[in-house]
Amino acid sequence: MYQRIPSPRWLAASLIALGVSAPAVAQDDDPIKVGILHSLSGTMAISESTLKDTVEMLVEQQNEAGGLLGRELEPVVVDPASDWPLFAERARELLEQEEVDVIFGNWTSVSRKAVLPVMEELNGLLFYPVQYEGEESSENVFYTGAAPNQQSIPAVNYLHDQVGVERWVLAGTDYVFPRTTNRILEAYLKDEFGVADDDIMVNYTPFGHSDWQNIVSEIKRFGSEGKKTAVVSTINGDANVPFYRELGNQGVDAADIPVMAFSVGEQELSGIDTGPLVGHLAAWNYFMSVDTDANYDFIDAWIEYNDDETVVTNDPMEAHYIGFNMWTEAVRKAGTTDVDAVKDAIIGVSVPNLSGGYATMMPNHHITKPVMVGEIQDNGQFAVVWETPSTVAGDAWSDYLSGSRDLIADWRKPMECGNYNVAEGTCMGSNAEEQAEEALSGD
């Protein structure tokens, strides 16, 4: 049910779009401004700083290829310093003072929620590249990362169907993304597979947790009762390194108790010796090891841009790559960088992804992605062991939560609504301000 294939109409539209890239006449010689809103200092700098570099590299490549609509692109970088309210201020600065045409940015959900009202008030364009918990669709935001149905649900299906898992440990960091994801997963496991309460263990740890001895030993005990056990991990950021080290040292073997991670990519693994972790899993929409020429070209360009042989690429980088290309394509199609025109033009646009397929922008501002499960290798890379046969369209509202089951998002005319209730036939309207306040006060 999560494998929605883009309809022929969109494909046709996008093929036309590809063919007829308008021979644009330069309207003025001012450069097109591309805003970059990623933390370069503070806790999130570890993840976000590479995304800033990625967008800068893409801008540079675009300029070398002749710019866009005959104009130069100019990156405008600001540093929101991992401070969520500061994200909103910096976004306002980008839109009001710098007058950027588009923004690529954010990592954590709470920072996105903070920026949301600014985007809607000033009618900006934001491309958000990270896998997230769903339950949102804004007119001004394009979600190029995975929604839950593009990551966690297929991953759990893989564990159940292919690995034969019967007992589940849901381990996560204590904040909104793991809690929402685990709520969806718990409901899904009980409804779909009839898993008993006893066979689910839920565990939350604080950000940056470093002493995993007890939890790993508990997981070992939980998994030694004869039923096949797996850990579904939404542990985020820094805490993963000591977690995986402890797993390795306590001898938790992937063949016995595999750990399926949703927030561990090549970059996180570059901080650990992966020898003892071979076989543990991660679910993403892209892996650096994907064997296509587009991917190798991207990696080569990235290595050259950084002038460092050891740099790695990861899933959010690919999301920016797709988002950036979709935006340039839409600008070409619209013949202008005007936000409203681009917003209309981008729906249905298809661009190649790095795994040999195409990503299409859906009317709910989410994109189509293949879902892959990879096993960790001893060189810090993942080998893909399972993949959806076709791409999956992102679902903004989960089908497994009672509140959001009836909601859909469609930003095409005439509906133009991010949370249309199918049962009642009404649009719930924007509540970005409230959501932002809620997210910020909860932090």
Partner: protein, 546 residues
């Protein structure tokens, strides 16, 4: 040696696969002289490997079986390479190669069929034969079965342990004969257990006796299954299980104690430097965490300078980490702290600023990303006390290191001239100066000592957690907590406070969860400080009152 090679003919992909595969490899091993003729037949090898280059993992499993049955003498190398992910195929000419080193973009390879050295190939041109956990398990048990017969003592022990719960009719005979030829007591014990689990499944009540007292989880699963049944066997199994539960409880207690001590020793290491700068000198140094971070980064730096020698690098990083942090500590003391003497609030703010500067400096100069510090071979893994209790080695080393650092500090403070001067200056600065002690010099030395010890903590932490710009932040609060709880100015207080907080935390964690356990510890300390504002071991004498 009696091995039922005959039944290999009708091998099927099924639950029995593991056994068939294992025995197949075994036959191959014994049959090497006979199989030598197969070597000439190169096409056969190519075909065998080609069968592996398919998408479906089930087909791959059958292809692995075919390789084992082929009795080709290169089978062992192929399977090992497949297990390690080194068996790859050239995209253009379809040739199978084994990668010998997969670092970077150009990899040295050898031909999988002939074993010839083929130089370097680009990873772009190679496609790896992927395996998944199921195949990994299949390959491992096949290879370990060979090890049971030919491996050294440790390999045989591991192989025998892996057999518990996996024995069936066919395998039980060959294992029984293997048991007769086995000399190692531990391997015999494991094989006996493996056979007993099999006999228990057949309803043999004597098997329970063999299994009684075993802490192995596969044995426990087998006993639980037997206890769910009816009759005498079930009763016996229940009794044995109750016994095992009792022992497990003891083990769990020991384990919690170890976890607590190990967490405590990390706290002690992080706090002991602060116990000197804050406790003895009275300087509130918010940049203490960053001095720890610099120590961790020196550990990383040493590994960069000595690639390939992680062990030596770790040992060398102990003095280097000390010196780097001590030096930075001196610079902070001279440039900031000495001008703010007696103004704790300003010192706090200024050193907090220094800590932010140091963090951003590392982000800009090194990288905002975490750096990877390799754990040397002798520090990874764990020592097994028994089947249910094993102690992780890296933490064991850190515990030992904490004890050494603490002992050295006590010696310095109580047995050296520097220690004497430090104590004199902190107790009565004016009097000490009039006795001819150069107080400024003592200040510098003390601060350098405290900072250097923070660097040592960093070297130890690099083996446990992330080496990144944020490393220090996560330990600064804990460090102050330990020093205040232990009693400001008392090194022994810091030791006792660190260890007890570690143990309290680990005892609470299993039933309260990590988040709540941390909060409970904080609340406990707040209440404790209300009652005893000077901590566990308050300093006595006039200096303390002043």
């Amino acid at each position: 040696m009696r091995i039922p090679c005959t039944f290999l003919g009708h091998a099927r992909w099924h639950a029995a696969m593991t056994r068939i595969v294992s025995l197949g490899l075994l036959c191959l091993l014994i049959a090497i002289p006979v199989a030598a003729t197969a070597q000439d037949d190169v096409d056969n090898g190519q075909a065998l490997l080609e069968a592996l280059d398919v998408r479906s993992f089930q087909d791959k499993a059958e292809a692995i079986n075919a390789i084992i049955e082929s009795e080709d003498e290169r089978a062992n190398d192929w399977l090992q390479a497949l297990l390690d992910g080194d068996l790859q195929r050239h995209k253009d000419d379809g040739r199978f190669v084994i990668v010998t080193d997969n670092v970077g973009r150009e990899w040295p390879v050898i031909d999988a069929l002939s074993g010839d050295d083929l130089g370097e190939m680009s990873r772009r041109d190679l496609a790896r034969i992927n395996i998944n956990n199921a195949l990994r398990r299949q390959l491992r048990s096949a290879l370990s079965m060979v090890e049971l017969y030919t491996g050294d003592r440790d390999e045989r022990r591991e192989a025998a342990k892996g057999l518990i719960g996996k024995v069936d009719d066919e395998l039980s005979d060959s294992l029984a004969s293997r048991l007769e030829n086995e000399s190692d007591e531990d391997v015999r014990h494991r094989l006996n257990q493996a056979l007993a689990v099999y006999r228990l499944e057949q309803g043999d009540i004597d098997a329970v006796e063999t299994l009684a007292g075993s802490l192995n989880s596969d044995v426990r699963v087998a006993l639980t299954r037997a206890a769910d049944g009816e009759g005498a066997v079930a009763d016996a199994a229940q009794a044995a299980l109750a016994d095992i539960e009792q022992t497990l409880k003891l083990n769990r207690g020991a384990e919690t104690l170890y976890f607590g001590l190990s967490m405590g020793s990390v706290l002690v290491l992080a706090a002991i430097g602060l116990a000197i700068t804050f406790g003895v000198m009275g300087v509130i140094n918010m940049a203490h965490g960053e001095l720890i971070m610099l120590g961790a980064y020196s550990s990383w730096m040493m590994q960069q300078l000595l690639p390939g020698y992680p062990g030596i690098a770790v040992l060398l990083s102990i003095p280097v980490g000390f010196l780097v942090s001590a030096l930075v500590g001196v610079v902070i003391e001279r440039s900031v702290i000495q001008h703010l003497k007696g103004r704790p609030l300003e010192t706090l703010l200024a050193t907090f600023g220094v800590s932010l500067i140091l963090q951003q400096l590392v982000r800009t100069v090194v990288s905002p990303l975490n750096r990877s510090v390799t754990t040397p071979e002798w520090m990874s893994g764990s020592v097994a006390i028994n089947d249910a209790l094993s102690l992780t080695l890296n933490r064991l080393y850190v515990m030992g290191f904490a004890v050494l650092v603490f002992a050295a500090l006590i010696l310095v403070m109580h047995r050296t001239r520097l220690g004497l001067e430090v104590r004199a200056v902190t107790q009565n600065r004016a009097m000490a100066r009039s006795m001819g002690i150069r107080a400024t010099r003592v200040d510098i030395m003390t601060f350098a000592l405290g900072s250097g010890v923070a660097g040592l903590a960093g070297v130890a932490l690099a083996q446990l957690t992330n080496v990144g710009p944020n490393l220090g932040q996560s330990y600064i609060i804990d460090s102050f907590m330990v020093v205040v709880f232990g009693g400001v100015g008392n090194l022994w207080g810091t030791l006792v406070a660190g260890l007890s907080l570690g143990i309290i935390n680990q005892v609470l964690e299993p039933w309260a969860g990590a988040v709540l356990a941390k909060i409970m510890v904080l609340v406990f300390i707040i209440l404790f400080i209300q009652k005893r504002p000077r901590g566990l071991f308050p300093q006595k004498g006039r200096a303390a009152e002043g």
